[in-house]
Subunit: 132 residues, 2 copies
DNA sequence: ATTATTGTATTAGCATACTAGTACATTAAA
DNA sequence: TTTAATGTACTAGTATGCTAATACAATAAT
């Protein structure tokens, strides 16, 4: 499990570079990518995903600016020290369980993945002001 | 509540026409828009959302092709007869409750709306093969 | 010193997702 | 018949999100 599978959906409507950046952020937050872990090569990942190397480079640079990655020319790209602690396993598990539950409900109601995620984004923005 | 608020996020990365189409599909599925209800005018909605009338027209035409809307030139646009029954209120409520729960968990873990929705989309695709 | 591998940079070009403007066609109401 | 409101159609232009190609620069291994 040295290199977790990074995958994107080129036909998803959402720009590839946003998907890729978000996927990497999530892998770090989940703890699948730990501080110091090597990232795939710019060229290598580009080939693997079937996208352009510049697109990968752009994402890496953006994540470096966020302090999530550390780019070393001639050496490689690594998860940066400033990448913040990953979620607690218990929290992650709880979110996974909650996700499975709502996915189950949504499927039962005839929704698809896109509809559900849109629904949740909308609801998030609506609920934010409640602030419990 | 004749016309439920339709809102989009122009800075969300996701193309406006996809957001708009999805938002309308959801309103119909939730039962907020019922069969026969009038939709906002092409021009009116365009102005309201700050987008081009052609973009709205495109979305309406697409939803008509799906059988969700009925466009009558010179008259207006309406929710079509073939729009299918809305979700049961109980199902909708269950999904809303599940959404509130996972939003709460995600916020607690430091995620944002976009991260959560991406997480759920990814998990949906992963879990699909389990097929319970 | 040489070579292979890495990230960096630049330029050109293309398809998509629009914006903007205008004209037209159909319907209902006056 | 006229008018106002609706959806339809077309053309032109722009910004974004890429693809493609190429060259350069730093590092590590030889």
């Amino acid at each position: 499990m040295n290199a977790p599978a990074i995958q994107i959906d080129k036909s998803a409507g959402l720009p590839v570079y946003l998907q890729l950046a978000e996927r990497i952020r999530l892998l770090v937050r989940e703890g699948e990518l730990k501080i110091g872990d090597p990232m795939p090569t710019v060229r290598g990942l580009a080939v693997e995903l079937g996208i352009n190397a510049n697109t990968v480079a752009r994402v890496y640079r953006e994540l470096q600016a966020e302090g999530l990655l550390r780019l070393e020319r001639g050496v490689g790209t690594f998860v940066a020290e400033g990448a913040g602690a990953p979620m607690k396993r218990a929290d992650l598990r709880a979110i996974e369980r909650a996700a499975d539950r709502i996915i189950d409900l949504a499927q039962g109601a005839g929704m698809n993945a896109f509809e559900l995620s849109q629904f949740i984004e909308t609801r998030w923005k609506e609920v934010r002001r409640v602030k419990r």
